[in-house]
């Protein structure tokens, strides 16, 4: 069973990913292709920017009175016949889900995509208690069979080549060795998963939106596995973070118009399913999870990332994500948004992630709910430095730089020294272990004079 047991060191895991440069390039192109599909879809929507504004403001409004809306949602969901459970953390969430299953003697669970249950590590918890858990989203099933975490929240197996998936299916699903055609593999998965769906005692889904005024849940998928899983067995468990609430039904079209276009370039997902309570004769259990979210709400600098609707657009556009792969982040949600969420929850464990960004701002530009991702990443760097969670060498270097930059005379002296000394130093000194920047790059040749001198010498110039 996989787990992230170590402190995440993004630079080293990215370096391992980049060691196979062919694969790294392939990954970059595959993910960039999705970004281009997003661009094409967004450009066809004349009110795209107005939609982003509306989405951001609905989320800001909702977060400002989240408790009230959750109570309203609970009241309406109960009236529709659902059962509502509350979990403070991952352990409570897992115990609740297991309790529901155990009480009814369910030993086979089918799951559709749920990043929350990944976050809570539900699968290993249930498996250790004798429950068979089958992830039914194709990408999720691939990574489950490969015994690894998803590398992307929308395309969990984006890091896998079709030949590898063919081999995996040959071993686990009995397909012919060497078959790697996506259509054939998908067909094999269809039969395999249909059998699992028909045999299951319960289906678990995530939640994209929970509508307070209706008490209804909305789940957006393309394959149909969530609809099968929530309808074939009589027991449906839906797990949601507290931030999934939207106040009113008329808020839904704002998000639905943005979500699939931002995620994959589709105008809407194939199935946008609204569950108003359980199916006749069945049960619906809704598990509402905090797991650090209420604390994040209290942090003015970081609360805006609670508005995330998990479209993945920030990953697809991120030059660092595309060239380091989702696994290098060591967290359920990778990419720019994950680099905010992970260290917000566990600063010491994920301290390298806010630095896995060039701060180019492309993530903020594509975010459908206008999360100011690159500014939040910068804020997090400050916060981590204050907590001394930035490596000592970097801290000292930056302190020295700040000192030099703070004194004009010192700054001039440093420049004068560098211009004269650097060209004379042996290469092994200049490009020593301390110079991470110079590992793949050449320093520019030292100018003969400072900018200040050049400026003074310009025609008609004055100091």
């Amino acid at each position: 069973m996989w787990r992230y047991a170590f402190r995440v060191d993004h630079p080293s895991s990215a370096a391992r990913f980049l060691a196979d440069s062919g694969r790294a390039h392939w990954h970059d192109q595959a993910v960039w292709w999705v970004r281009q599909k997003r661009d094409a879809a967004a450009s066809l929507v004349p009110d795209w920017e107005a939609l982003r504004d509306a989405a951001a403001r609905i989320k800001a409004h909702t977060l400002s009175r989240l408790a009230g809306y959750l109570e309203e949602f609970e009241r309406n969901a109960l009236a529709l016949g659902a059962r509502v459970h509350w979990a403070r953390d991952a352990a409570e969430h897992n115990a609740i889900v297991h309790g529901i299953l155990a009480e009814r003697g369910v030993t086979r669970l089918v799951k559709s995509k749920s990043m929350l249950t990944e976050e809570c590590r539900l699968n290993p918890y249930l498996e250790a208690r004798g429950i068979e858990v089958v992830d039914t989203d194709l990408g999720e099933r691939i990574v489950q069979l490969a015994e690894e975490p998803p590398s992307h929240i929308v395309m969990p197996a984006i890091h896998r080549k079709k030949e590898e998936i063919g081999e995996l299916f040959h071993v686990h699903l009995g397909t012919r060795r060497g078959v790697s055609d996506p259509a054939l593999l998908t067909e094999a998965a269809r039969h395999h998963l249909r059998a699992k769906l028909l045999a299951a005692g319960a289906g678990l889904t995530g939640v994209n939106f929970a509508v307070a005024e209706l008490g209804a849940l909305v789940v957006c998928t393309n394959e149909g596995n969530a609809d099968l899983g929530a309808s074939l067995p009589p027991l449906h468990i839906a797990c949601m973070g507290v931030e999934k609430i939207v106040p009113r039904a008329r808020d839904l079209p704002v998000f639905l118009r943005l979500l699939a276009r931002s995620a994959t370039g589709q105008p809407i997902t194939t199935y946008t399913t609204h569950y108003f309570g359980p199916q006749p004769g069945g049960e619906l259990h809704i598990v509402i999870v905090d797991n650090g979210r209420s604390a994040q709400l209290g942090d003015e600098r970081l609360r805006r990332s609670l508005a995330c609707i998990r479209c993945g657009a920030c990953m697809n556009t991120c030059p660092v994500f595309r060239r380091s792969g989702g696994h290098s982040y060591g967290y359920t949600v990778p990419g720019p948004i994950g680099s905010i969420l992970a260290p917000t929850r566990q600063p010491a464990h994920h301290a390298t992630l806010p630095f896995a960004s060039s701060l180019c701002g492309s993530c903020s530009d594509v975010c459908p709910v206008r999360i100011d991702l690159h500014h939040e990443l910068l804020e997090l760097r400050h916060a981590l430095a204050e907590k001394r969670l930035v490596p000592l060498g970097k801290r000292l270097a930056l302190r020295l730089a700040a000192f030099v930059l703070g004194w004009t005379g010192l700054y001039r002296l440093a420049g004068w020294l560098a211009r004269r000394l650097v060209p004379r130093l042996p290469r092994s000194w200049v490009y020593g272990a301390w110079n991470a920047w110079g590992r793949q790059r050449e320093l520019p040749p030292m100018p003969r004079a400072s900018f200040r001198a050049l400026y003074r010498r310009r025609p008609g110039g004055r100091a």
């Binding site: 896998r160 996506p182 394959e223 106040p247 079209p253 609204h274």
Partner: protein, 188 residues
């Protein structure tokens, strides 16, 4: 309910300053010809589009196990009233279902659970035909939700084209786990 009270208290304690809900008026464009746009959208999401003047004009390929909930289109060989366990629908070839409305901007048809009998029927059938009246075609999703305001159908789903996936190397494969084909029939 210690967890519930604790979570709600923490959310109240940490809530940011009140922010007003935005006015959503003005979002969503009107298409001059919603039906033409719907046809384009249905094709774009991998579905088939059919416009007929009356239901009798729809010819369906012969299928063994059929559920039709639309009078005049297809003939049911499976009576949903006899089905107590949705798993009995596992080898359903074709479902013909009524759509309450269709959305031009994304090719989605709204299907309501109270008219389905078994809510798995739309996703378990190999092939799907959704029938909508021409008068029930709206331009955008905002108009669709405005029409659905106040309804509590037990279960409702926007279906946009056939089931699909691109989870293997981004190659689009139609017919992932639900219906392999989806035909939208507009009547009138």
């Amino acid at each position: 309910m210690a967890a519930r009270e604790e979570i709600l208290a923490a959310l109240r304690r940490n809530a940011p300053a009140p922010a007003p809900a935005p006015d959503l008026a003005g979002l969503g464009a009107d298409f001059p010809e919603p039906l033409a746009e719907l046809e384009r959208s249905v094709a774009a999401v991998g579905g088939q589009f059919l416009r007929v003047s009356d239901r009798g004009a729809v010819v369906l390929p012969p299928s063994k196990r059929v559920v039709s909930l639309v009078p005049g289109i297809g003939r049911s060989t499976v009576d949903l009233d006899d089905v107590t366990d949705p798993r009995a629908l596992a080898d359903l070839d074709l479902a013909v279902l009524p759509g309450e409305l269709a959305v031009a901007e994304n090719g989605a048809v709204w299907v309501e659970g109270r008219r389905l009998g078994q809510r798995a029927v739309f996703v378990i059938a190999e092939h799907l035909v959704l029938v909508v009246a021409a008068a029930d075609v709206v331009s955008n999703l905002h108009q669709a939700y405005a029409r659905l305001e106040g309804r509590r159908p037990g279960y409702g789903v926007f279906i946009s084209g056939p089931s699909k996936t691109a989870d293997i190397e981004q190659a689009l494969v139609v017919g992932a786990q639900g219906a392999r084909t989806c035909t939208v029939v507009v009547v009138g």
